[in-house]
């Protein structure tokens, strides 16, 4: 991400493009990411409800998957999954 200089920063650090928080790559913060075991998953969607980044979405096959651009690796989805279908895995960067 390119940050502005003090000269080009909007007046008072205002945000003049509404919704630009979508560009913020919270995925940068992560050290671990959730891995789904499709055998165990019952497609209940609880992980998506609990995810504080709202970054888990249902795909064409009905499974719920984390968008790793935003997943910050908090592990809440793993904690909440009633079927233990999710595990955190260390990310090698």
């Amino acid at each position: 991400m390119n940050y502005p200089s003090w000269r080009t920063l909007e007046l008072g650090a205002a945000i003049t493009t509404p919704g630009n928080a979508a560009e913020l790559k919270t995925g940068d913060w992560r050290t671990e990411f959730p891995v789904l075991d499709e055998e165990k998953c019952v497609k209940c969607g609880l992980c998506a409800i609990y995810c504080p980044e709202f970054c888990i979405h249902e795909d064409d096959t009905g499974y719920f998957r984390a968008d790793l651009y935003y997943c910050k690796g908090c592990g809440i989805c793993v904690h909440e999954c009633p079927k233990d279908a999710l595990t955190m895995q260390l990310e090698e960067k």
Partner: protein
């Protein structure tokens, strides 16, 4: 034609705010600011000023409402003093960092405790790093003029910062003076309607006051600091234009007394006029002392002060607040650090006086001059007039 009338200075400030066509006034009454906002609420209620008067439940809310209204694009005024200013503390910094051109009168009053409703500068000195432009008036006319100019300075696109106009509580707020009240038509020409650069508008949504992550915060602070420092040039321009249109000339600092005098008093606020009169006493025996009166406190007019102090051997800095646990009062500390830039530095004598509304007479200024002449309290400060014994 402008009309010259005898009027209480507080009411003249209210008149200035009316002439400036403030659109939102959010205020909570506190002595000695009360007469200003009482008068304004009446002016609004009488339909003499088309404005929203928000009688908030505290000063914290007053400044918060002022910020909201200013962010929405209104011309906003408020006034406070002492504990009220202290209660605004966290919000004051938000006003300047959001670059909102709010104008506020501070009717300077001591901070508790013990409780004191009287005048000194402890209220504004506790807030001096708030990022606002800060000016001090010495008399009613000056405060009237500065109040109108404050809007013009604050709203200038090169500035966009809030301005605090300081006036000594009671000594100025409750004094009746002969003041020239300018015509609406001329003020309208001097101060056109406020056109915000950014504002909260549902048709063009923006966010003000978002999180500043570590990658942004420092840039935001630098932007704010540069704007404050560069406002000095705009303030000078506005002062000049005021002089051209209304015939009363103001500078960032004022000097008075014989140029060759080697002892220089430095004051801020109404005591400048007492020193002016004290100089007549001191200078009977020759050109002994002169004075510098600071009108612009932030941004600090260093260049102008250094020029004015040329040739000075002894500088007597009058402070109106204690900066606890350090070596000087707030003004003297600043002056001393500035003088360090000179090869030959004058001695600094710092008298902290007029605390909690204690009178300071011209005789006392003469005594301070004599102490400085004898070299007593050189490079030290003294809390003036304190009883050592019962």
């Amino acid at each position: 034609m402008a009309k010259r009338i005898g009027i209480e200075n507080s009411l003249a400030v209210a008149e200035a705010v009316k002439l400036a066509r403030a659109e939102v006034i959010a205020a909570y009454p506190i002595t000695p600011q009360t007469h200003i906002v009482e008068e304004l609420s009446q002016i609004v209620a009488n339909g003499e000023l088309e404005a929203e008067f928000i009688p908030v439940e505290s000063e914290h809310s007053a400044m918060s409402a002022a910020i909201g209204a200013s962010a929405a694009g209104a011309r906003v005024y408020t006034a406070t003093a002492s504990q009220g200013l202290a209660l605004m503390h966290e919000i004051l910094f938000i006003a300047s960092s959001l670059r909102l051109p709010i104008v506020m009168t501070v009717a300077n009053r001591s901070l508790s405790g013990p409780i004191s409703i009287w005048n000194d500068h402890s209220d504004v000195m506790a807030e001096r790093d708030m990022g606002w432009i800060q000016v001090f008036g010495e008399n009613g006319q000056e405060v009237f003029d500065l109040t109108i100019m404050a809007f013009r300075i604050a709203e200038d696109k090169r500035v966009l910062l809030p301005v605090a106009v300081n006036m000594d509580g009671f000594i100025l707020t409750h004094m009746i003076e002969s003041i020239e009240i300018e015509e609406q038509e001329k003020i309208d020409k001097f101060l056109p309607p406020y056109k915000p650069v950014l504002r909260l508008d549902p048709a063009h949504p923006i966010s003000m006051g978002p999180v500043g992550v570590p990658e942004i915060y420092a840039e935001a602070k630098k932007q704010q600091e540069v704007a404050l420092l560069e406002s000095k040039a705009v303030i000078k321009e506005v002062f000049k234009e005021w002089a051209e249109q209304f015939g009363r000339a103001y500078n960032l600092i004022e000097t008075n007394g014989p140029e060759q005098a080697e002892v220089v008093f430095i004051t801020m606020g109404s005591l400048g006029e007492t020193v002016m009169s004290a100089l007549d006493l001191i200078n009977v025996q020759g050109d002994k002392a002169r004075q510098v009166r600071i009108r612009l406190w932030r941004p600090f007019p260093e260049e102008e002060l250094l020029a004015a102090l040329e040739g000075a051997k002894k500088v007597i800095v009058i402070d109106r607040a204690v900066s606890f646990g350090t070596s000087y009062g707030p003004v003297a500390g600043e002056i001393r650090s500035m003088l360090y830039k000179l090869k030959e530095q004058p001695e600094v004598y710092n008298f902290i006086c007029g605390l909690g509304g204690r009178d300071v007479t011209r005789q006392e200024f003469k005594q301070m001059y004599e102490l400085a002449e004898q070299g007593q309290y050189k490079d030290k400060y003294l809390i003036w007039g304190v009883r050592e014994n019962d």
